[in-house]
Symmetry: C2
Subunit: 206 residues, 2 copies
DNA sequence: AGATTGAACGGATTGTTGATTATTCAGAAA
DNA sequence: TTTCTGAATAATCAACAATCCGTTCAATCT
């Protein structure tokens, strides 16, 4: 079991090097196998297919991101609104930078999104859990008033779709995207109706 | 001049028939020219290129849609919130049906969006004007409280992006999209903060 | 037995060739 | 002159061949 895991890791590491250096498409299973001093066929004892190796790499990275989001969601000394802001901005910035400077990451994201549509849903569901937790706390402190928190989390995700895979849907620069996300967040928090005070429109984070 | 316009119309009509019957790609300039009893070269006295004929057709149709939106934006006996609802739903439904039942329209939309990125921006700007007008009225009646109406219109468009070209970004059915748009709208209008009453969450329209 | 190999299969990809077609423009027609 | 033509051009596309590569599995090794 531990043995098996070691081999799995070895494969993942070899693939990681190849993928990030030559790209997913230009890396062959035979090459990865050779890097691990094994035959191509043997890879299939550890992964169902090539795409699963890529998914494994992506997930490893994503888990770190998720952890960072969880931290932000419960940061002390921040209002619920600020924490929501931090969450959404972290998401935007991470994706933007990842896809911006690294065409290999872009390629892998595209392939996985295309061949495994459910993967994106799984990511959204993970982040929804964090949002719901944030809402729970916020409600207790009377910061937000929310009927159905799960649904509301979905709606927040709908409304911020544009900022989740920024360069797939627009060619805007990061500063412009940030300004726009800030505007959308303000609207989501305060609404269009007259009523309560709107606390400051934007803050710096990180 | 009128003469020229007549010929232009004739070309557009011939192209419209061809495009909707055989598709944009499978229609040749020679065929359109033949339908108009003229040589292919002569088409270029009236249009800079094939794509411009398609654009002309698309715009003709779009102008009708815009007119419908303008009507909805000033409908009497409806609250601002209801009119905003009608506007966004009309947009969603039109696009959905158009792309759903007519693969030719989908093809043309794709080609134009790809070759003429500015075209989509022009459409958004048109619709923003309508939104701003709606906001102006709403503010006078005290229904909405809005700082910068142009910016707010942009933010509404950002937040409802997912519903503007529905089948490009998700495989959701119309009812699901409608439920989601309703949820997003509710959030945009009322905000997350506790405060004023939320008038009914959803209504039927047309 | 279980673990590993590597040749073989077939679906996808690439490169090449030939045809199609959007666009131009020199000249014919009006 | 202005209006139009249609052959010439260059870019794109479709079809086919050849190759490549992910995946499988019968045979080999431990």
């Amino acid at each position: 079991m531990t043995e098996k895991n070691t081999v799995r890791c070895q494969i993942v590491e070899a693939a990681k090097k190849r993928f990030s250096h030559f790209g997913y498409a230009k890396t062959t299973m035979a090459e990865v196998a050779a890097d691990c001093s094994m035959s191509p066929g043997n890879l299939y004892r550890f992964f169902p297919g090539k795409l699963d190796i890529a998914e494994s790499i992506a997930t490893e990275d994503y888990e770190k991101h998720l952890e960072a989001l969880r931290k932000l969601a419960v940061a002390p000394n921040r209002t619920a609104r600020e924490r929501l802001h931090d969450l959404l901005f972290e998401e935007l910035r991470r994706t933007y930078h990842k896809l911006e400077k690294d065409p290999r990451a872009y390629e892998m994201a595209t392939v996985i999104a295309h061949e495994r549509p459910q993967y994106a849903n799984w990511m959204l569901a993970n982040e929804r859990k964090i949002l719901v937790q944030l809402f729970d706390e916020a409600e207790q402190r009377g910061e937000f008033a929310i009927d159905d928190k799960e649904i509301t989390a979905e709606m927040i995700q709908s409304a911020t779709m544009k900022f989740r895979y920024p360069q797939l849907w627009s060619k805007l620069t990061l500063p412009k995207l940030e300004r726009e996300l800030d505007g959308v967040l303000k609207l989501l928090v305060n609404g269009l109706c007259p009523g309560q005070t709107s606390s400051a429109g934007s803050e710096a984070a990180a």
